[in-house]
Symmetry: C2
């Protein structure tokens, strides 16, 4: 065997290191984590822009109440310069069954019309709100596909966006799969847990799992128990997704449904 | 005189109230306040989106350092799918004098290319970053024109964006013009002032005025004095903008320059 020079050795080791970093990033989970973090950032950002847009345009049409970000932005783009010119048909295409209400509000509005210049600015704000909503739905579609493929068991039990957020909190699927149920239950509640440990405030009962639909529908005192049930089954599901790659989630889902029924039964007087 | 019925009286008073609200909003200052608040929100939002974009795309090109949000977004849009195909000329058009550096980095990069699907998502993120930058510059142009017209004296002394922010903090030009210099000095430092009054922490020396270019160029211990000089002259300038409508700011500017020189002279040993 010919002996390597220092230069050759250095080149060989650098190449190996590069290749291993490259392949570590090749896993889908990094993309999912980036996607969910972007999704959550855009959700926040979209709300901020909407607040500004609504406050600004309300100088010109304070009576308008649409309760939908996209509809509001579309209204500003289409009718913001001269709302009185909007016909019932045009309004119908944008605000749907609120058309006649809005039509009446336009007649009695105390708002003037913005100047050409100011309107141009408000309009671009509305356009960027729409484009953010579009980006959000594209990331959503990407997340749905990639997360369901990468963690089929977990996504069978909980919403794929909650699953992606928990993956992001855990750092990787491998770490997720080696966590005890108690840690999974509190993923996303790190701040509250730290406060509890340091200052003795109440211990948190749930983190990201609070976003589950079941939580909103349940009494407050049942939520900790529900989070625990999910965490226990997610613990098993994550091991299947990470290691055995077998689909066992239909069985786990039945277990969850049974446990939830029991919790509700006990809660009744 | 025919006596009004209750109905008629109600209608007359409502119409008068509507008209007075409508005319109160007719002033330019409300638009300026909306515009500067939107500008500041978009600045924040653009940074958030950029952070996400940079972190996500760095999975595929970790060596890239561009230090400019718009250039980074353009790079992702044009070369993000297949960076190796970028010619020197094409790179030159996007990243300018960094082209040869980036060209080399592309050859030695450890990053792979994103999948078609993932790239589609990253690209929309980059596009919305660009659209936010565009909105920001449009609001900026609108602000420059309307603020300089509405507060010519104040805008002669300080940057129009700082002026707009102070107007927003004050609530209206009338309120601004009736504030003592000490209050003007601390506009934008309300939180710190409250902390000072309630908990006895250090009293703030400047609020929004901290954004003045002079502040960044001066020693820390001179900044309170500089803020005071500006606040005193802004106090006079705002009265001219609100009430007398005469242009006196060139004289005030000379006063400021003289005072700043003295402060600097005294600071020297």
């Amino acid at each position: 065997l010919k002996k390597e020079t220092v230069e050759e050795k250095r080149a060989r080791l650098m190449a190996a290191a590069k290749a291993s970093i490259s392949s570590a990033y090749a896993s889908d989970e990094h993309s999912i984590i980036q996607a969910i973090n972007s999704y959550l950032a855009i959700e926040k950002v979209g709300n901020l822009i909407y607040e500004r847009l609504e406050e600004w345009y309300s100088m010109y049409f304070p009576e308008l109440r649409l309760n939908n970000q996209a509809t509001f932005a579309k209204f500003v783009i289409q009718f913001g310069k001269n709302k009185k010119a909007a016909t019932m048909e045009e309004l119908n295409a944008v605000v749907g069954d609120k058309a006649s209400e809005v039509f009446r509000q336009i007649r009695s509005s105390i708002g003037r019309e913005p100047s050409e210049e100011e309107y141009g600015t408000i309009r671009t704000l509305a356009e960027s709100e729409l484009s953010l909503i579009d980006v959000q739905s594209r990331i959503d579609a990407y997340l749905e596909k990639s997360t369901k493929k990468f963690m089929p068991n977990i996504c069978y039990l909980i919403d794929y966006k909650i699953a992606a957020e928990m993956l992001s909190r855990a750092g990787s699927l491998n770490r997720f799969a080696t966590m005890p149920a108690g840690t999974i239950q509190l993923l996303g509640a790190e701040k509250a847990l730290f406060k509890h440990l340091k200052y003795g405030s109440k211990s948190p009962k749930h983190g990201t799992l609070f976003k589950l639909q079941e939580m909103a529908l349940s009494n407050k005192h049942m939520r900790g128990k529900i989070a625990r049930v999910y965490a226990t089954k997610l613990c098993t599901a994550s091991k299947a997704d990470a290691f055995t790659k077998r689909f066992i989630a239909d069985k786990l889902k039945q277990d969850i449904d049974r446990s939830l029924k029991e919790i509700k039964k006990k809660a009744q007087p």
